[in-house]
Amino acid sequence: MAELHIIGQIIGATGFPQNSLFCKWGVHAGGAWRLLSGLKEGQTQVDIPQTGDMAYWSHPIDLHYTTKGLQGWPKLHLQVWHQDSFGRCQLYGYGYIHVPSSPGQHRLQCVTWRPLGSWQDQLAEMFVGGGPQLRSPDLIYSGADRYRLHTVGMGTVELELCVILRHFDRYGVES
């Protein structure tokens, strides 16, 4: 069996309409993968940047997977939420990114999108906030039903991941 280490951090997010943000993240992998150590999901703190636009979380990610096959390579999915001064949380974007398959250090940008409702919903959203959310977060990283959605692009989440592969070459995998 081969092993994969993912060591890195969710650095922060930028490009969103408001910048008091937090992020819920998770890693999803296929059936052949097993998590040996590390937390595979979590939620960052709420960051309110004083200067500049980027909200910084520096949330650590440290995972150790073992696998029997290549299918279901781990994917990191994110939900970026905004918390306003009244404590209300509003969804700002869904996004996902594949864990890179080549070893080394990677600086990644995960772009996010938000589902849109009808124009009445959008008008209401402007005043009271809220907005449609996905019923099941699996849709973030699967593509089957995507064509039924209307979405709008939102900001970017920056990540830095270091990938270490072990024993993949023993089984003839080149990466």
């Binding site: 069996m1 081969a2 092993e3 052949a32 040996l36 073992t66 696998t67 029997k68 096959g69 290549l70 299918q71 390579w73 994917k75 996004g95 996902y96 990114i97 594949h98 890179p100 398959s101 080549s102 990677h106 772009v111 996010t112 999108w113 849109l116 990283y141 699967s142 593509g143 089957a144 995507r146 064509y147 959605l149 209307h150 979405t151 709008v152 692009g153 070459d169 023993r170 089984y171 003839g172 995998v173 080149e174 990466s175």
Partner: protein
């Protein structure tokens, strides 16, 4: 003689996991005078003539010992208190002792005087508990001219460092609740805002006054400063001599005298059996942990013929209209290949401002079951078309493009420009603008090489297109093939895939035979060496006899 001075008096840092109380340092000081120089010169002469056995050493060593107050040697342990003459004089009178520490010194000194055993004359120590360490760090300035007041940080740190004398284990547990202390106390601020690794200091001092006039405070000089902190870091300034020559100390008084200083590590080593036991324990621990991890990981991996795993993200930019969606599919060239992945085709609608991106991601995984030897696999090609659908339900084609999946595994980022077909005349463009609807390609493989193409030259004469925006792909490719395993054991890692899959079989077999032969030969040689000599000889004799 005196040319071998060591001028490097910088501190050096040692790291040790053993207890610092085992540290022992041998200190030797020697005054440089004319007689001392001469005796040393003669000493060296003697040493060089020693093999002739001309002069005995005893006579000369006694001469150097005559000036006993000009030289001294002492082995100092960690925080071992040796008293200077000044301290002995001071603490002998009971009225001078105020703190319990001083009273303890008093009792020790009285005991020492009674038993008349005094190990040191000139060399003495200041331990961590003496006032000297605090004074030195706090009041002595690092600058010339000396600064009268220490800086704010120096003040804070001086108080904190010396208070935390005991070893406190580092707490690595993060509390789950009450992470923030809203009203920190003064004590808390002092402990948290400042570096407070507890450091224990010790100074080895020398009283370098003229012999007979020991015990004056002005003649005290620091010979060596040792700091040990709780993490096993030991700082020694200056470092051990290590055959670099003596350190040079110059006194400041009227008569500037030069002294030689030697520092040597006299700590005793760990016993061999204890060391062995410790190493064995570590080794057991590590192998057990490794076995445990291995058992979790397991041994199997699915074996396949060829798999190419691709993960893609892409974004589109530079298009005329917003609300783009992309329709893509992956063409697998060999008709006999099968693929198993959930979405080979996909669409995603995304509203976009003019310069931001649409984002679509998919991951495909294609695998070829039969590998007919000799045929190189053709790499899959990703075809895509970008379309726009706006609020009024107007549907337009925005662009066509294709991308050949790269043949090297790894991370790739490429940009593909797209084009859309044009029809001659203005009617088509007007229609596209007002109502939507535009010419589309019937067969998307026309973008690259049409599936129905047979022949040598592809002609697109008469086909008019217009360049539209571009799509950027970020791909992570992994290739998995059985052939790669054999290649790696042959230690040919850097060959390209084509070499490996194509010419591998022929080269591989020849190399395999050579390797097997080499291995057998090595084994035979080893066996030969282990056999006793006479056996080989007798067998040779037998052979010769039999042949004869």
């Amino acid at each position: 003689m005196a040319d071998g001075w060591c001028t490097d008096t910088g501190e050096s840092v040692y790291r040790s996991r053993d207890a610092v109380k085992n540290l022992r340092i041998r200190v030797r000081i020697q005054r440089v005078t004319s007689t001392a120089a001469l005796s040393q010169h003669l000493h060296q002469q003697v040493l060089s003539q020693q093999d002739r056995g001309v002069i005995e050493l005893d006579t000369f060593s006694s001469q150097t010992q005559a000036a006993s107050t000009d030289a001294e040697e002492l082995v100092v342990g960690w925080q071992e208190k040796f008293f200077s003459q000044y301290e002995v004089d001071l603490y002998q009178t009971e009225s001078n002792c105020q703190t319990p520490l001083e009273r303890q010194y008093h009792t020790e000194i009285m005991a020492m005087e009674r038993s008349k055993r005094r190990q040191n004359q000139r060399i003495f120590t200041y331990t961590d508990f003496d006032r000297f360490s605090k004074w030195e760090e706090q009041a002595q300035s690092l600058l010339i001219p000396a600064q009268s007041t220490p800086t704010f940080l120096a003040e804070r740190m001086a108080n904190v460092r010396h208070r935390r004398q005991e070893r406190r284990p580092v707490e690595s547990v993060v509390p789950k609740s009450r992470l923030i202390t809203w009203e920190p106390s003064e004590e808390f601020i002092k402990n948290s805002h400042i570096i407070n690794t507890p450091v224990q200091t010790m100074h080895i001092m020398g009283d370098l006054g003229p012999s007979g006039k020991l015990g004056l405070k002005e003649n005290e000089y620091i010979l060596c400063t040792i700091k040990a902190d709780g993490n096993g870091v030991i700082t020694i300034k200056p470092d051990f001599n290590n055959n670099r020559g003596a350190y040079r100390l110059e006194t400041q008084g009227e008569k500037r005298e030069v002294w030689r200083l030697y520092l040597e590590n006299a700590s005793s080593d760990i016993h061999a059996e204890e060391k062995e036991r410790e190493q064995r324990m570590y080794r057991d621990l590590y192998t057990r942990h490794k076995d445990y991890l291995n058992s979790l990981v397991g041994q199997d991996f699915e074996m396949v013929r060829i798999i190419i795993l691709i993960q893609t993200h892409f974004s589109a930019q530079g298009y005329e209209y917003d609300n783009l969606y992309v329709h893509f599919f992956l063409d697998l060239p060999n008709s006999k290949s099968t693929y198993s992945q959930p979405h080979r085709e996909g669409k995603n609608i995304s509203k976009v401002q003019s310069h931001t991106y649409t984002f679509i991601m998919f991951s495909t995984f294609f695998h070829k079951e039969d590998e007919s030897d000799g045929s190189l696999p053709q790499w899959p090609v990703l075809y895509f078309k970008v379309l726009s659908l706006d609020f009024w339900q107007r549907y337009r084609t925005e662009g066509y493009g294709f991308l050949v999946i790269p043949s090297t595994p790894g991370y790739h980022r490429m940009t593909c420009r797209t084009w859309r077909p044009l029809q001659s005349g203005t009617v088509a463009e007007l229609r596209r603008f007002f109502i939507g609807g535009a010419p589309e390609l019937e067969d998307i493989s026309y973008v690259r090489v049409p599936g129905t193409f047979k022949g040598k030259r592809l002609s697109r004469f008469g086909f008019r297109t217009q360049t539209t925006g571009s799509v950027t792909f970020t791909l992570n490719c992994i290739q998995h093939a059985r052939a790669f395993i054999d290649a790696s054991t042959l230690k040919k890692r850097r060959q390209t895939v084509l070499d490996q899959l194509g010419g591998h079989s022929q080269q591989g077999s020849v190399y395999n035979v050579l390797e097997a032969f080499q291995r057998a030969r090595n084994r035979m040689q080893e066996a030969r060496e282990t056999l006793p000599r006479d056996l080989i000889n007798t067998s040779a004799q037998l052979n010769s006899e039999s042949s004869a």
